[in-house]
């Protein structure tokens, strides 16, 4: 393919007693009339082949007929709609209440309240997520050192009151799955399990503005 090889565009030049490297701006190459005509037409036909492939293959069309296919619609892996804590089959989560997601959240949509467990270890008490201010940037999921969070594809979250968009994500306040497994004897395990408190989706503290958050100016003097 000699005719497609590029000119050498970089080199070195001696100026005075210094060698400096130079880069030449790439120039369009002048070719003969018929050369341009032939290869131009060829590249146009290549483009048309691509679009023809899309046209004739319905499997490449991506539009979803949403309300009709609601039953069988599966959202895509990478779709980000609702933040959730991951739970294993026994219902334990991995969240230790370390608040890294809290401080990573760019618009303060996450508020993590921790407590002291029976063994003096830090535990999650309430994990509050405000969907109304969330931009679904995924930073909380990315920074979580315990792999406790995930974004799911449940996108039907419209409500009639903005206050209903403040969720509490943890189902229980208490130790993580790891800490329960690590407990030495059944006595300390029971102690951990006894300290569990149930939490539901809508029972957290519901701040109506972020004025009670540290470092946020709400306009009041």
């Amino acid at each position: 393919m000699g005719f497609l090889s590029r000119e050498k565009i970089s080199g070195t030049q001696v100026v005075g007693d210094k060698r400096i490297s130079t880069v030449q701006a790439p120039r369009p190459q002048r070719k003969s009339f018929f050369f341009n005509l032939y290869f131009g037409t060829l590249s146009l036909l290549k483009g048309m082949r691509v679009t023809a492939r899309y046209f004739f293959r319905p499997s490449t069309w991506v539009t979803q007929q949403y309300p009709e296919n609601r039953q069988e619609l599966k959202m895509f892996e990478r779709y980000r709609a609702e933040l959730t804590l991951k739970y294993d089959e026994n219902g334990y989560h991995n969240c230790t209440g370390c608040k890294i997601c809290d401080s990573a959240c760019p618009n303060n949509s996450i508020k993590v309240i921790d407590r002291e467990g029976p063994s003096g270890k830090q535990e999650i008490d309430r994990y509050i997520w405000r969907m109304d201010t969330c931009t679904f940037c995924n930073l909380c999921v990315m920074v979580c050192p315990h792999d406790a969070l995930e974004m799911t594809g449940r996108f039907e979250s419209s409500v009639l009151d903005r206050r209903l968009l403040v969720y509490q994500l943890n189902r229980y306040a208490g130790a993580t799955k790891k800490n329960i497994e690590k407990s030495k004897d059944s006595e300390s395990k029971d102690l951990l399990l006894k300290s569990f408190e149930s939490r539901t989706f809508y029972e957290g503290a519901i701040p109506l503005s972020t004025s009670d958050e540290k470092g946020i100016f709400d306009g009041r003097i």
Binding site: F33, G47, M48, A52, F55, T60, W61, V62
Partner: protein, 355 residues
């Protein structure tokens, strides 16, 4: 097989009473109107569907079965929209421009040979008429841009004017090669001259080259995407019809779609045999099998293929820059067109037809 050509104008000329002449007149007008409005609807829908599928979308799906009633819904919407004209617009010209644009379209519909029996008028200078009247469309666009009192409209109109006038040269040169080959300016005779084979095949190479030149040039003349500088929305909002709304906008829209149909019809008439079935020289048996389909069906089938080609091209290629557009016309298409015309005259002189 000998074809009997009878246009509506012929029938009116042979009429015995004034009432009959009037009836044929009404028939012609209704036929023209029906073709224009029907083609507007059909092409609008198919363009949207095809562009959607090429872009991995579904297109209109809600109104009617697979969105079949969408063009009607859009038309009704445009009818009820407010018709705004800018404060400092040149009122008369502003109102007139869309009608001039559509008028050019109507005037060409008159000569299109749909089949031996369906043609409104068959002028003996049909080719000259088509070339002249298609220039009328430029006037509509220029007036619209000028009278809107808007710099973007003006810019779009000027680009459109420069582009359409330039590309008309190439288009007419391509038509001239066919005039040389068929030795007639009458559209029905151009079609009849292709009884041995369509010019795109029958004239060795020159027919194909002329066809490609005509395709590119007419693509530019009707301002479709590789050449849609007149409305390039990323730089000129909507070009010459920025200020238009409601029904007047719909008229521009309609003219654009019907122009695409007409350009395809002309390409079919000159290069793909018009309503003439696919014939191959002296193969009588083969030709008779081909004659089983009526000529009207042949015409519509060929036009469908060419229209699909236009849409395919439109939704594949990006828009050219104005200097590239001018380069393509004056440095590439025009020299090839002249060389092709010269070669065609040699073909005609030496009788070098393929069959």
């Amino acid at each position: 097989m000998s074809w009997e050509i009878q246009t509506i104008a012929d029938r009116a000329a042979g009429a015995t009473s004034m009432a009959e002449v009037g009836a044929y007149l009404v028939l012609g007008v209704v036929l023209g109107l029906a073709i224009v409005s029907l083609m507007g609807l059909i092409l609008n829908y198919s363009e949207r569907k095809i562009c959607a599928h090429i872009q991995c979308r579904l297109g209109p799906m809600r109104v009617g079965f697979h969105g079949l009633l969408q063009p009607i819904a859009d038309g009704v919407k445009l009818l009820f929209k407010e018709d705004i004209s800018p404060r400092n617009a040149d009122r008369l010209v502003y109102i007139m421009a869309p009608f001039i644009s559509l008028l050019a379209t109507f005037l060409i519909v008159v000569t299109v040979p749909f089949s031996p029996l369906v043609q409104i008028a068959d002028l003996n200078i049909g080719v000259v008429y088509v070339a002249a009247v298609s220039g009328f469309g430029v006037l509509g666009v220029l007036l619209a841009g000028w009278s809107s009192n808007n710099k973007w409209s003006m810019m779009g109109a000027m680009r459109a004017g420069a582009q359409m006038v330039s590309y008309e040269l190439s288009a007419v040169l391509a038509l001239l090669t066919v005039v040389l080959l068929s030795q007639s300016l009458k559209l029905s005779e151009v079609v009849l001259s292709q009884e041995q084979g369509w010019w795109i095949f029958r004239a060795p190479v020159v027919g194909l080259v002329a066809c490609v030149i005509f395709f590119v040039a007419s693509c530019a003349e009707i301002n479709r995407t590789p050449f849609d500088l007149a409305e390039g929305e990323s730089e000129l909002t909507a070009g010459f019809h920025t200020e238009y709304s409601g029904l007047r906008f719909a008229l521009f829209f309609l003219a654009e779609f019907v122009n695409m149909f007409l350009v395809s019809a002309m390409l079919v008439t000159f290069f793909l045999g018009g309503w003439m079935p696919f014939h191959l020289g002296g193969l009588t048996g083969f030709n008779e099998v081909m004659d089983l389909l009526p000529p009207g069906i042949w015409f519509l089938g060929k036009v469908t293929v060419v229209v699909l080609l236009f849409m395919w091209v439109r939704w594949t290629f990006p828009r050219l820059r104005i200097d590239q557009v001018m380069n393509l016309e004056w440095k590439i298409l025009l020299p090839i067109g002249f060389a092709n015309l010269f070669l065609t005259s040699i073909v005609v002189l030496l009788d070098l037809y393929l069959f």
